[in-house]
């Protein structure tokens, strides 16, 4: 009983904050999703979204791009975090700094950096053109590749640092034991470090996935208006056309969908082994 009180006291400020400053305000907003033009209850906003192949297409793009981005972040982030965990502290500090440096610039500005690199005549297409892979007018801007590139750069620190924290705590002797049992470096990485780092990978992927699902600045700037994602669609509906009811309906769909999809994930992460 006292344990519960303790836990409640620990979680209390957080719960209170979210209840008052998050649940309450968004309830009012999300309520709009079932309010019709005449003020009565309706499901028209949901129907409009769910029956339109255009919007479903947006959803599909959002999902598969997010999954792709998350996977790339995890695949790069895990070895990176491992290396960072195993170098000496001084080097580790500076690796961390370099990795998080992108976060110290405004998202808009850093996206402009990508636009310069990826746009027509930019460094990357230019190099590709010189190498003879593509035509002179080739541009990576306004492609899904650009979205992925830009998002991975932004989200990599989130994944890497989440994994780093966990890898740092893995008992080195486990790794050593594995080596003495004939496991090569890679085998050890796969059979010992990877499973033990899983909570970090899960947490990092969770952050990366939710962030890529709900971000719109980078996808809009790099993908352009012709490759919309759900968050951008919500943003447009909320500010450009002021269809708040529709924006709310889309948000409900996004929120519920992602939470449902992540339920097993949430349960998995944070659980001790075994």
């Amino acid at each position: 009983m006292r344990d519960r009180i303790e836990d409640l006291a620990l979680a209390g400020p957080g719960i209170l904050l979210l209840a008052l400053a998050f649940v309450l305000p968004i309830t009012e907003m999300l309520r709009l999703s079932i309010v019709g033009a005449d003020g009565g209850l309706t499901v028209e906003h949901f129907a409009r979204f769910l029956t339109d192949s255009y919007y479903l297409g947006i959803v599909w793009r959002t999902i598969y791009l997010s999954v792709l981005i998350t996977m790339i972040c995890a695949v790069i982030g895990f070895p990176l975090a491992y290396v960072m965990a195993r170098v000496r502290p001084g080097l580790r500090l500076w690796l961390i700094v370099l990795i998080i440096l992108p976060l110290m610039t405004s998202v808009v500005v850093r996206t402009f950096g990508w636009m310069v690199l990826l746009g027509r005549g930019g460094l990357v297409p230019f190099t590709f053109w010189k190498l003879g892979f593509v035509g002179r007018n080739f541009t990576l801007m306004h492609t899904e590749a650009a979205i992925v590139i830009g998002m991975v750069q932004v989200l990599l620190p989130f994944t890497t640092l989440s994994i780093l924290g966990v890898v740092m705590k893995i008992d080195r002797r486990l790794e050593e034991a594995s080596r003495t049992m004939g496991a090569s470096f890679f085998a050890t990485l796969r059979t010992v470090i990877l499973p033990l780092a899983m909570p970090g990978i899960l947490a990092g992927s969770l952050l990366a996935f939710t962030l890529s699902v709900s971000s719109f600045v980078t996808p809009s700037l790099l993908g352009g208006v012709r490759l919309p994602v759900v968050a951008a669609s919500i943003y447009d509906a909320a500010t450009k056309t002021l269809e708040w009811n529709f924006a709310a309906a889309q948000s409900v769909i996004l929120l519920v969908g992602v939470l449902l999809a992540l339920t097993p994930y949430i349960k998995l992460s944070g659980r001790r082994h075994g």
């Binding site: 402009f112 306004h142 809009s220 352009g224 012709r226 500010t239 450009k240 002021l242």
Partner: protein, 320 residues
């Protein structure tokens, strides 16, 4: 000291705004004017969300948002008589007052921007956009941007449609999509002209001047078929204590001196008949009774009513 809170559009616009309007006004009336930098759409959304406790006294819109704001009671009506400059305004500038909107204090003409160094030829008509010479170097603007919306309505009209019937416009634009870039913000427009080898784009006159000032060889051409325009309004926010002062501020923005300043500095066309302009400036804005009568205005209420469906249809059209 009395205080007013207004919005402005940031960057160079806001600098000029301060120089031409805000500072002189503060001096003249010995009041404090504070600025929130907010684009029209954001400002409207913000205003709507804080309806219970608004913080703006005067709110400027550039994309027809005043129609919504008036309808939702976010802004208060102003009578022409309350404005000392009211009688000097062109009729279109006060037309909205009857609907509870604010007066138009400046006009941004929409036409074709082109790169005079690179483009193979100078465009003359809206229809020239379809000229294969510009292929792969066209920039179109998203309809969520008010310049883009008006540009599209114009193209639609050129192709024989009207607000109720946007099909011709959409069909025609569809043919352009393969050889053009679609942007949604002004900086992207600049980016395309500066870096990505863009040659031609339907956009606003004032922005052509901004680009030119930034050192780009951009010229503005009024399409032969007509010149639509974006009307910048100054509106009186409802439920604020200081409405009298706010009205004075709005009135101040309408004075010929201020309007001449806008035209000189940023190439916005004046809405006050009494405005006097230099010849060089006059050539680069829509100036004079006759020119003004050539300006086209799509019915703001109809535009507002159609906006959501136009935007949605546009999005579906351009989506890959």
């Amino acid at each position: 000291k009395d205080k007013l809170v207004i919005n402005s559009y940031g960057g160079a616009y806001e600098q000029i705004h301060r120089k031409l309007v805000i500072e002189p006004f503060m001096k003249k009336y010995d009041v404090d004017v504070q600025v929130i930098t907010a684009y029209s759409a954001d400002a409207l959304a913000q205003l709507r969300a804080q309806k219970a406790a608004p913080q703006f006294d005067v709110i400027h819109f550039s994309g027809g948002q005043e129609v919504v704001a008036a309808r939702e009671g976010l802004i208060s009506a102003i009578k022409a008589e309350e404005l000392s400059n009211g009688k000097d305004l062109y009729p279109f500038a006060t037309e909205g007052l009857s609907r509870g909107e604010g007066p138009v204090h400046a006009v941004a003409a929409i036409g074709l921007l082109y790169n005079k160094d690179k483009a193979p030829k100078k465009p003359a008509r809206w229809a020239d956009l379809w000229d294969p010479a510009y292929k792969d170097h066209i920039v179109l603007t998203d309809l969520s941007n008010s310049y883009g919306l008006l540009g599209f309505l114009m193209l639609n009209k050129v192709k024989g449609g009207d607000i109720k019937n946007p099909d011709p416009g959409f069909d025609a634009v569809k043919g352009l999509l393969g050889s053009s870039v679609v942007v949604s913000t002004s900086p992207e427009m600049q980016q395309n002209f500066a870096q990505n080898d863009a040659w031609i784009a339907p956009y606003a006159q004032d922005y052509a001047y901004t680009l030119r000032k930034a050192g780009l060889p951009i010229e503005f051409v009024q399409g032969a078929e007509g010149t639509p325009a974006v009307y910048l309004t100054a509106n009186l926010v409802a439920n604020r204590p200081n409405q009298d002062l706010a009205k004075k501020f709005i009135d101040f923005s309408l004075s010929p001196e201020v309007q001449a300043g806008w035209a000189t500095e940023l190439r916005y066309s004046p809405t006050n008949k009494a405005t006097k302009l230099d010849d060089t400036v006059a050539k680069e804005v829509v100036y004079g009774e006759q020119a003004v009568s050539g300006l086209m205005r799509f019915d703001p209420v109809a535009v507002d009513a159609a906006r959501a469906s136009l935007v949605e249809r546009w999005k579906k059209l351009i989506a890959r």
